[in-house]
Symmetry: C2
Subunit: 328 residues, 2 copies
């Protein structure tokens, strides 16, 4: 394996002979879902139109990935989900073990070896008495989940070349004193609009500031900036990403000095390297920022973190094997 | 009619002999919906679980009320919806006339004379190629709508007594440079959490500031503050409410000096009167703020605006009669 070239999707997803869905009923292989109180194939999974999770984005969620038949850091995702719920006064019908069993069964029903596993609790419907809307305990919160095949946000060629990143001018990230981003939630219109802005500017992804030139987070991702032997990532105004945590651990392991603190747009523009981290994309190197080159392709640190991330995952690091027989 | 006593729900909703649903199939009277491409009873209306309108709150919407068989300012709501869509690069399958016909048919299917009419366009599903997520035109936006019986957020006794309002300490309103509130959208976790905070403080509704002691908006509502012959409402950081617009017109009509500008928490605490405006609640007088009395019951200006609002609506002002025969 070439240490300077990121592992390819082919390597990641096809080199394992066990890769690919095991034989399952056709209707489940495209995806499986759990809606309030039952398992359904993804194509039948829907949320009642008056659910406050939709009409008021009143919900929290989490996403864990499965690679080669193993959940990655499932317990960390579950612990974060519990913290998100607590911050937003949302309750779940499931204790942690039951939640893990449910997510396992969803993956098992699809037979997918590489999957994206999403689950949420919404506020539910408005209670009959309007006055009850002011009291969290008067709502019947609802649990939803779905599993779909894992798709890299950016493919091999893009990951190897590094992406063109756009620092949004038009949108700041929702500040933490409006909605705390540590509670992973649906309110992402700012993030999604910044993607359109980036697309119009010819870029491939966006990152948002707090309005004072300080970086916060990118859509679904955290950002890391490398300069000499230092590596920096924002402390505030961003999700406490599990892949961010993983990258921090890997940086420590390879002897980089990690700083979790204030990272400015200037830090990014003058970086040696930079990358994004997410459950949906792993480690995603950045080559240009606002059209200005910062690194030729994936830089050495980014590539090393990228490959370590996948190699260690496949070796079972923080892994929970999916039990594919656990289908009731 | 007593000019100092707000009209009651009974007066508003039952004094008209035409009030109440006309005979319709049972399944439609609880509510009707339109989901992507078809009419369904409300109980069957649901949004696919992977719709970005849910998982990313990537959507805009609007709500118009029907009272005594008439839409109120339907065209103004439709024009605002079109502006919301434009700001968020969302498209609708329906031109304005077709949209109006669809909303009319939904109300007609329920037979409701007093209804809450909600409609939205969501971003839809993610396109198959991840790179397409950066281009608005590569999404198939989806149209959803539903009609349910009109329920006053606060009943007669509460409206007559005035509500206890809580100025949120824990949440600021999402600022306009993150998500422009003039585009009516789902991202309301800040607003909903502030309701829980208000409930815990023994209050009945909340209002949010911008973090600098300047009032923005309340959940689903705009706020007005009356002092002597002046009446003030926030200019920025809030929805351009249609009931707000109506209240501004009525204030002008009765000779008040209207100021649309900066309104501080101190302005509210030292007001002679204050009220909230919304399509879901009409005019809602405020009696206390953070436990401090500002007005004994509904004040004279609030009551006058409240009653004028309903009297003029019933007389057909800005009204569009529902065609109850238009059911395909």
């Amino acid at each position: 394996m070439n240490g300077l070239s990121p592992l390819s999707v082919q390597e990641i997803m096809a080199s394992d002979p066990a890769h690919g869905p095991v034989a399952r009923a056709q209707e489940w292989t495209a995806g499986a879902a759990y809606v309030i109180d039952r398992f359904v194939p993804l194509g039948e999974a829907a949320v009642p139109i008056t659910d406050l999770g939709l009409v008021r984005a009143d919900a929290v969620y989490d996403v864990v990935s499965v690679s080669r038949g193993q959940f990655f850091r499932l317990e960390d995702h579950q612990a974060r989900f519990a913290r998100s719920r607590e911050r937003m006064k949302l309750s779940s019908p499931f204790v942690q073990a039951a939640e893990a069993a449910l997510l396992n069964e969803l993956v098992a029903r699809t037979g997918l070896k590489d999957a994206y596993v999403w689950w949420a609790v919404t506020r539910g419907a408005n209670p009959p008495l309007p006055g009850d809307r002011l009291h969290a305990e008067r709502f019947q919160n609802r649990f939803y989940a779905f599993v779909i095949p894992y798709v890299f946000i950016k493919d091999d060629a893009v990951r190897q070349a590094g992406i063109h990143l756009h620092v949004s001018n038009d949108y700041i990230r929702i500040p933490a004193n409006a909605i705390d981003p540590r509670a992973k939630n649906f309110c992402s219109l700012d993030l999604n609009m910044s993607l359109m802005e980036a697309g119009a500017a010819g870029a491939e992804w966006s990152v948002l500031t707090d309005g004072n030139n300080v970086l916060t987070e990118a859509p679904g991702s955290n950002i890391f900036v490398v300069r000499e032997d230092r590596i920096m990532t924002p402390e505030l105004g961003c999700l406490e990403g599990i892949t961010r945590l993983t990258a921090l651990e890997l940086c420590g392991e390879i002897g980089l000095n990690v700083e979790v603190g204030t990272v400015t747009v200037d830090d990014l523009l003058t970086a040696d390297e930079a990358f994004l981290t997410s459950s949906a994309g792993g480690i995603l190197p950045i080559s240009t920022v606002n059209g200005r080159p910062i690194c030729q392709g994936s830089g050495p640190v980014s590539t090393r973190i990228h490959n370590l991330y996948w190699e260690k995952r496949w070796a079972g690091w923080h892994g929970t094997p999916v039990d594919y027989e656990a289908v009731n």
